[in-house]
């Protein structure tokens, strides 16, 4: 049907996708209150435009985009803004960040949306601003503002749009479900995105472990037109990584430090395509998403359509959470997700899965042992890196060598940790090392600027001292010159002379006055 290529490395972890029953969307319902973090995307946090006490309708703007790389935030239902304060957010740090709490009034009243009748007659720029105004950010996990990604068309010639329906991570079936229930929406969204980007070719990529989604997408693509082509390829983790998928579909590799746009390719998640379609055709902002709630500690796992800001504890109750079975909560999948400290955090635009495993299902990793240099990690690495070397250099904090071994190209997929017979948490080391390098880079920029400012100030002070001295010298010289020119011009001598004259002839005084 199609030619595909092989990617480097990769692993085959247990899929466990059947658990969450892909293909059916359940409704998570309306929780009593929603907590909406102002930073649900990559870039600057949105800036608030409501105050506590305000009553808002569903779809109303709560916070607008602050600058270029940012997205606005909309109310997922009607209710009252009760608090704007730092709250726990889904983030590996378990730190608090600014959130807006919306007390739902239960009526779920919405504002009127205005979509455009026919997007084919609009200019790409006006469509981009519609997508931007709807607050769409990449829904695959990274949360990069979609409108900014679409602006790549201004810099580079593009040929291909890839809709990445790979969803290679175990357990997660949110995209699988979306492809089964709204394949037509994905195709239309992809056509809108392709029109904006000015590309002629749309590749809809689906892994071969999702036959139902594949069939639905094929039907929709045939109905959609000639420009869409469904591609399928063998299941392997992490084929859904942007760069890995491009290698599988085209056989070309994205250069180190480069972007897919360098090859004329842009990748989008199916959820993002649907959100873009909703934004353009119906004027509907992004206020909900499909979240996979799965794991054997849930009695009713499944794919739940949830409003943004829904607390995870509420969703767990809906999905039949059994607290006796579970020891930890994972935001995202088992390979790339992170553990949550508490269930009191909300879901955000990038939450595709909440994994609630039992201890038998996903046991606590045993203590790491020494590296035996078996080399399995290097075979598994999809980015063709040397995980072992990176591990040593990360431990030694040797930034020069880390850079030379291309740490920045690590996609943090976790394949190396998964194959490691010594259970070394390799990805943890890389994440820490990346953070360390990022920090020292910003510190370097900072210290360079401080040095420049310090030197500029030193120079200025020196200049001022010199100027003052020159002024003083000039004044002294002028005074000396006057003194040399004689008493006539010297005011002191003149005054003395006048006083003397006055004393000598007091009669003149009367005549003067």
């Amino acid at each position: 049907m199609n030619t595909v290529f092989n990617m480097h490395g990769g692993i085959h972890p247990k899929e466990e996708k059947h658990l969450s029953n892909p293909g059916t969307v359940l409704d998570a319902g309306l929780p009593p209150s929603l907590v909406l973090p102002l930073s649900q995307h990559i870039g600057k946090p949105s800036s608030l435009c409501v105050a506590p006490g305000d009553h808002v309708l569903g779809g109303q703007l709560l916070a607008e985009a602050d600058g270029m790389v940012s997205v606005p935030l909309h109310a997922p239902t009607s209710g009252t803004v009760v608090a704007i304060e730092p709250r726990p957010v889904p983030h590996p740090s378990a730190l608090n960040n600014l959130c807006l709490q919306l007390e739902c009034d239960g009526q779920d009243r919405w504002i009127e949306f205005a979509g455009c009748e026919d997007w084919r007659v609009e200019t790409p720029d006006s469509l981009i601003s519609r997508i931007r105004a709807a607050g769409v950010a990449g829904m695959g996990g990274a949360g990069f503002p979609t409108a900014v990604k679409l602006m790549a068309r201004e810099r580079l010639p593009l040929q291909t749009l890839i809709v990445n329906g790979t969803e290679c991570e175990p357990y997660i079936t949110a995209d699988d479900t979306l492809m089964q229930v709204d394949a037509a929406g994905i195709v239309e969204g992809a056509q809108i995105l392709a029109y904006i980007l000015g590309v002629k070719q749309i590749l809809l990529a689906v892994e071969d472990n999702k036959p139902a989604a594949l069939e639905a997408m094929q039907k929709a693509a045939e109905a959609g037109g000639d420009d869409c082509k469904v591609m399928t390829f063998p299941t392997k983790y992490p084929s859904g990584g942007e760069k890995q998928l491009i290698e599988i579909l085209t056989g070309k590799q994205v250069p180190a430090g480069g972007l897919p746009a360098d090859l004329g390719i842009v990748c989008q998640n199916p959820g993002t395509a649907v959100a873009a379609r909703d934004a353009v055709c119906f004027g509907k902002p992004l206020t909900d998403r499909i979240v996979t709630l799965t794991g054997r500690a849930l009695t009713r796992p499944g794919n739940y359509r949830s409003r943004l800001g829904t607390p995870i504890e509420y969703l767990l109750t809906v999905a039949g959470f059994d607290p006796t079975q579970n020891r930890r909560l994972i935001h995202g999948g088992p390979m790339m997700g992170f553990a949550l400290e508490s269930a009191a955090v909300p879901i955000i635009k990038t939450t595709n899965c909440i994994l609630v495993p039992t201890e038998q299902e996903l046991p606590t990793p045993p203590d790491a042992q020494a590296c035996i240099r078996c080399g399995l990690c290097a075979e598994a690495c999809p980015a063709s890196l040397l995980p072992q070397q990176l591990y040593w250099y990360a431990r030694a904090k040797d930034q020069e060598q880390l850079e030379r071994h291309h740490l920045a190209d690590c996609i943090e997929c976790g394949a190396c940790s998964w194959v490691c017979p010594s259970h070394i948490p390799l990805v943890q080391y890389y994440r820490a090392a990346k953070g360390m390098m990022r920090e020292s880079k910003t510190e370097k920029i900072r210290s360079d600027r401080s040095r420049d400012r310090f030197e500029a100030r030193q120079e200025r002070l020196e200049r001022e001292t010199l100027a003052r001295e020159a002024q003083r010298a000039a004044r002294r010289a002028a005074a000396e010159q006057k003194a040399a020119e004689g008493g006539a011009n010297d005011p002191v001598a003149a005054a003395i002379a006048r006083a003397k004259a006055k004393k000598e002839s007091p009669s003149d005084e009367g005549a003067d006055s």
Binding site: N96, D367, A432, S450, F454, A456
Partner: protein, 200 residues
């Protein structure tokens, strides 16, 4: 001349060596003038490694003077803002043994940023004059404020303030400055062989 050289090989060798010496000497002499390095390159290299806080905790009026002192053989462990990392980097550059931070000059702490409580500021300009990187904005009898991005957290503005309205706040508190920690290497925690752990 030629016949003289031919008949006295020793003399010819001397002349040849003298000629070569003069020729290369001229080249070297020219190069030393033409490609002269301005300043002391070692000072610049050391200065690159210092944190540029310009705080003066080392006893020198700024990072560059301290770099000059180090280049002349001064101690490398007098910089609290740089901490152990800077000392190690300096030791590596100068090929000497790394030392621990000299506690006399202060202790390593998280970077700060100055914050002026603006209601209390009387506009005396004393902090502006103290700031080594011109990071404070204001004029006489008008409120002053710190350009937070440019502040090095050197503490030099705190002392001169007559109304004590400057606070030093931690620079890296928020979620945007958070980063993953290196995992604790667990070879130290448990035995290398699984049965060791079972026994423990």
């Amino acid at each position: 001349m030629l016949t003289l050289l031919q008949s006295h090989p020793l003399f010819a060798a001397l002349v040849a060596l003298l000629g070569l010496g003069l020729g290369f000497g001229a080249v070297l002499g020219y190069a030393s003038v033409r490609f002269r390095t301005e300043g002391n390159p070692l000072v610049d290299q050391i200065n690159q490694l210092l944190p540029q806080t310009q705080c003066g905790q080392c006893g020198h009026p700024g990072c560059k003077p301290y770099a000059t002192a180090i280049a002349e053989g001064g101690a490398i462990n007098k910089c609290p803002p740089g901490g152990q990392e800077t000392i190690d980097a300096l030791a590596d550059l100068l090929d000497i043994e790394p030392q621990t931070l000299d506690a006399e000059h202060g202790e390593e702490k998280e970077p700060n940023v100055a914050y002026i409580r603006e209601d209390e500021c009387i506009g005396c300009t004393k902090c502006i004059q103290a700031c080594p990187v011109d990071a404070i904005l204001g004029a006489a009898k008008l409120m002053h404020t710190v350009i937070a991005d440019e502040c090095t957290g050197c503490d030099l503005c705190v002392e001169p303030c007559p109304v004590d309205c400057i606070d030093m706040l931690p620079r890296k508190g928020g979620i945007e400055h958070w980063r993953w920690d290196l995992p604790e290497p667990s070879e130290n925690k448990s035995g290398v062989i699984a049965t060791d752990r079972a026994a423990a």
